[in-house]
Amino acid sequence: MSQKTPELPVTIIGGYLGCGKTTLVNHLLRHANGLRLAILVNDFGDLPIDADLIEAQDGDVISLSGGCICCSYGDDLSLSLRKLQSASVKPEHILIEASGVALPGAIGNSLSLLQDYRLDCIAVLADASAIMHQANEKYIGDTVLRQLADADLLVLNKLDLTTQKKLTTTRGWLAGVSGHAPVVEAVHGKIEAGILFHQVAEYRTLVNPSTSICPPGRAELSEDGCDVDKADIAQKILRDHNHASELFESMHLLIGWKVDAHIIAAELADQKMRLIRVKGFVRNLDNELMLIQIVGARWSVTDAPSNLPESTQPGLVFIAKAGELKNEQLRRICKRRH
């Protein structure tokens, strides 16, 4: 298998003007948990980044605390992405804040042209107090609907600006127009950062079991698989630890047997499973270690990076909204022989 640089994950944050994209970006910056983010914004506008996070500004690049940077891409996103490739400190994750009328799916498509990037997720925000009105607006209605349809994950934001009755109507409407994407709800863009960044929180436990949220090592890698009931499962509520508006729970399932990674990934990404995020490694049928990454409806299976520590144990971390983790079904899917 050829050695190649791991592709840089890219998250596209879309949504119409005023839906809270900038606020969300600032929230994510505060909860990046050491992850080096590069944030690409259409313009610096009304200062896209909270002042206390800024260390220095040089033209169209702002240096932020924790090794993060923010660049304005103006009218040429691909040029900005190419420039990032020659940055002195390599970012670990890229966030693109799309302009208010951009179709995030089109931005995602253009990423397929750049070999060093991998589209991780298109997250589209909707202003809970305005989205239904915007979708009916004469000029931008169809643009708003196309943005929602492009989403892998929807963030229904600004819950505080709407009434409970209106929110119920909006939820129902959104489920109807958004199709396959799960919806998370938020106030001031405060969502669990682990949803958008695999690198934070639970994923780290996979490559470094000593910090695992569950006792490591009980599941064995065996040729013919092991009883899933003996697999190591941990579950916890991610209790508001970064002030997310909505509660999530996660499960870590060690998978010591061979599976068909593509079939598993596709089944887990089915929205019937109600999963928000999945990441981890599995042994493919030909015994290659594969990386599975899922956000909402978007899934990918790629070769595992070659530099993984010896201690890496095959397994997946699942994140779902609190109360929606279907433990038994997930285990059944992962256990199925192909």
């Binding site: 253009s110 397929s112 000029y139």
Partner: protein, 545 residues
Amino acid sequence: MTIVYSAKKILTMNPARPVVTHVAVRDGRILGAGSLEELSGFGEFTLDEQFADKVIMPGMVEGHCHAVEGKWWRYVYCGFHDRMDPHGKVWSGLSSIDHVVSRLQEKEITLSDATTALTGWAIDPIYYDNKKITRHDLDRVSTTRAVGIMHASGHIMNVNSKALELAGYLRTGITHDGVPLGDDGLPTGELKGPDVMYPVGQHAGFDDNMLEFDEAGLIDFARLCVRTGVTTATDLAARLEDSIVDMGIRVTGADDFPVRIMSLRFHHGLTPEELIEHVKQLQLRSTERFRLGKIKVIADGSIQGFSARLNWPGYYNGAPNGLWYIAPEQMRSIYEMALRDGIQVHTHTNGDEATDLVLDTLETALAKYPNQTHRFTIQHGQLINAAQYRRMAKLNMCVNHFANHHFYWGDEHYRLTVGPERAERMNACRTALDNGIPLAIHSDAPVTPLSPLFTAWCAVNRTTASGRTQGEHEKISVQEALYAITLGAAYTLNLDNEIGSIECGKHADFAILEDDPTSVDPDKLKDIDVWGTVQSGRVFPASLI
């Protein structure tokens, strides 16, 4: 010192004395137009008879073009129609893909090393029965160097395998509407849209900034202006970074620079507040020959690219509606602040829905910031209908129509994009004038060739490339077309007090013609030879430029 020029005929665009025989010039400005006897009243003069057998008209004003055309001529011309380069050489049109390949091959053998990129422009597969050009066609030119050709529309590029390889595109797994794949799963070499063209284009010899002029290109652009009778030209969409402004002021400030350039800041990449602030700074730097301080807003895409925003029922072939390039709220902020601060805004619309947005937005903004003299102008406005012109009249708007489209893409619009009925009323100059809308017409060079007389011919005859007349009802007269390429365009740039006609007090800007556009067959308007120009009293023969 006063010079009086005699001419066979001088068309003044001044209705009080539309045709005269002499024009007097002092200090670069027009002292008067009339008979020799009348002008002698100004005192001592030198009579210059070098134009005695020529026809003089006001220097032509190109209200929508891009100075970057000068830069494009460094690439190999691959267009279907004959086209003149800045040095006056007429490049013959290429009638097949094989001819395109041959011309590139001729250039290729002159290159000494094996890897320098080879770049072409202005190809238009419409004329080759829409036959797709592939990387294999261009691989016949070279397999060791990147080869790329930009289409005439500026929206599509074709490249060879080497260019794809250098950009990392020669692989399977690309999923992008702008990158068609062949049966082998590899890109065919056709690249549609800026986000796919730029990354490959840089390997095929195009620079990162395909819109911005450079120094040599600006000088070459000025040569084209002299050859086509243009004395004032716009550079309609620029970033205008400080270094470009410094260079523009320096280059146009040279004693022998023959054109007045007006460069507009486009809205991309800035918030409305930043945009207004930048334009105010630019106004302070404006010079006589490098005019700054206006805004270009781009509302939607193009009709032939199916990215223009159309009202119901949309595209004739059922393509989905196009894209907004600006949010309505941003347009409103820009309009409001511009009206408040007296900054003129030109807005690109192609589709009629985009025009509706402009009209709604301006109407609301004007209620908040009344402004009688804003002269906000719709650029292109290709699908404006009668009801929209009536609103535009009430709103004191101007229009600058893309008359050249009739010829270059009229057949496509009829057959494919908007269908016969709407194609016949595209760029409806007649209806605009009937509603009293100040009218200019344009080339959008380098998209189509810079040549106001050709543009006038398009508006007068509405002939498509296949020879059909498209929209008899929307034709305008020769006189109206000549007005549109002089005073009409000057009005849309708020320069009608300085240029656009030959009358006392204005800049001495003339187009010197070999024949009289008001007496030739209207079908021959485009064939009139241009001797050169006089700009602010300085004489520029095309033969010496």
